[in-house]
């Protein structure tokens, strides 16, 4: 589904990704771990299409096409979803309105009619209930005045409504209490499917207690320095990131 080959990227004058390669297939859940500044979030933003991150080398192929050619909205309509580490507050833009506009943008791209308003609301309310979100959040401004946990649940709600092919969740676990973490994990686990890939970008192993990854990659200085199964995350938790850095430079 996604093939990243020797990807290099910088923001401003700072080189962040320095030759990253990664292949993700449908049905897989990947965890990308690494210390602060290793390039985890940069990777997520480059895949989503943030214009501040300049790609200076390598390629990214998504569903057989050059991903880097596409605008952020085209990537979204092609089924890429990025759950933000810091979801943006947009006062005055109604949450339900955005959800519906997002769903319809994708449906239009697929040649489908706009979603039925009644069905849409019913579906949104069900998914909110499953996430432990009060449906009153539908009528609030997007993330406006939401707590950290509410914002992350809102990201998962958007993901659930958009049913992406490739979901990238950037530090979705940060700032969550245990109930919110469980709710978010349940939301993610419910979306696991044979035709969908999920990438969890996380600093800590904790999230992986609730969402079991098929693969764990460790990022250091803009490259994947180690890949393995879920036991790699446990080892990392036990030995710390210094172990990886040492292993990488050895």
């Amino acid at each position: 589904m996604l093939e990243i080959n020797n990807l290099k990227s910088r923001i401003g004058d700072t080189e962040i990704l320095r030759g990253l390669s990664l292949t993700i297939n449908a049905g897989e859940v990947h965890a990308i771990m690494g210390p602060n500044g290793s390039g985890k979030s940069t990777l997520a933003q480059v895949i989503a299409g943030h214009s501040d991150y300049v790609v200076t080398g390598g390629e990214v192929n998504y569903m057989g096409n050059d991903l880097l050619d596409l605008e952020p909205e085209e990537r979204a309509r092609e089924g890429i979803f990025l759950g933000f580490q810091y979801p943006v507050e947009i006062p005055g833009v109604n949450n339900a309105y955005l959800l519906k506009a997002a769903v319809n943008a994708k449906r239009k791209h697929q040649g489908l009619d706009e979603v039925d308003a009644f069905e849409f609301l019913k579906c949104a309310r069900e998914k909110m209930a499953a996430l432990g979100m009060d449906s009153k959040f539908l009528n609030r401004g997007v993330n406006e005045g939401f707590s950290g946990g509410e914002k992350k649940r809102n990201e998962i709600l958007q993901m659930a409504m958009l049913e992406p092919r490739l979901a990238i969740l950037d530090e979705t676990d940060s700032g969550l209490d245990i109930d919110a973490l469980k709710a978010v994990a349940t939301g993610v686990n419910n979306l696991r499917a044979a035709d969908r890939a999920i990438v969890l970008v996380t600093h800590y192993q904790r999230l992986l207690d609730y969402i079991e990854p098929d693969f764990v990659h460790v990022l250091s200085e803009g490259k994947i320095v180690r890949s393995g199964d879920k036991t790699l995350a446990l080892k990392l938790e036990e030995k710390g990131y210094d172990w990886v850095r040492e292993a990488a430079s050895a």
Binding site: P72, G92, A101, L162
Partner: protein, 424 residues
Amino acid sequence: MKRVALSIDELRKAVLRLPEGALTAIRAAALANLDEHGLPTVRHEDWKYTNLDAAIDISNRWLSAGATLASKDSLGESIEAIISSVDANWLVIANGQVDMTYFAETRGIEVVRFSESAAPFVMDRPLADLNAALLHDGLRIRIDAATEKPLGLLVIDESNAGAAVSQASVEIVVGPGCDAEIIEHQSSAGKDDHYGNSVVALQVGQAAMVNYVRIQDRHIGHVQTGRLSVSMGKDSRLKMASYDLGGRLVRNDIDIELGEPGSEITFDGLYLVSDGQHIDNHTRVDHRVGPASSSQEYRGILNGRCRAVWNGKAIVHKGADGTDANQANHNLLLSDNAEIDAKPELEIYADDVKCSHGTTVGQLDESALYYLRTRGLDKRQATQLLTHAFAADLIGRAPVAAAVDAIQSLVEARLADLLQEPAS
């Protein structure tokens, strides 16, 4: 640059041609004032950013063509289109002529026409002089009881036979303890240049509560200068919201006198400005006694080659202790060619006061635009959504419920139009 001057000789001839009546003496006095002082120029501090050349040019063309008052008969359809969108009791001034046909006599509202009985005018400003000098008729309205429907005041001008000029003058007195809802709508029809000049005086009685909406959606050939003078009684309240959507050159002067203790005013405004437009909002609040509070927030959205001015003055006079004055002005500039001159002015001569002001000028939030795009909305949709969001807050503040739907659709249509222009 050679300045254009109003042709006073032609103006005098036009004034003398007006029918004799209750207004004759007032016109003569106004003309004398105008002759002495002239119209303001950019040398006046209050007119630094706005020159009246376009108004003067239209006036001179109209004067030299005989200064006839355009008929109001062809305006029927345009009037009906506007008043059918808001359930109010409408008084109409069409091409400077009072039209009572849409007004239903109602207990609690008394209406007198200036042409029947003209009380002394306050003519303290050149544009008010111009207004009085050329006045055919005007309205004095007294509201003494709450009414089922809001009072609507439609000022509409049409010019189809060359440049034209018209005046509207209205006095509204809201009696003690009375609740009133008022909608003032200034609009236009026709294709030629027009200059409309209006003077509205609002007196809010003791413990009265007034909710006031002002809508201006003139077309791009029209110039408007409008003055609203408000005086607030003891313990009275005023909630006002203004929506400036059209016009080539628009200058609004809002002057509010807080001369009695206990009054509370909020007045907000939204201006949407695009190619070829110049919209200037000058507000002034005189806090003469305390306690009293005033609060205003104006927001502007500008696209294309255009200019807007916001000048908010609050003067807290000596002894006006217990004053609370807040002013805010926020602007969204969608084009490099758009210019905003934003100027808060606070003058404080009392000790125990709370005053604040804040002004921002900016572009759309890039991180919000990107966030929306990662959800599948294209750049245009995302821009529209964020621009609407910026305006939505002020639409929500319209204090007259009967006008909210009309404001919503006017603002949305105007915004869609404004966003058609390529952002540069």
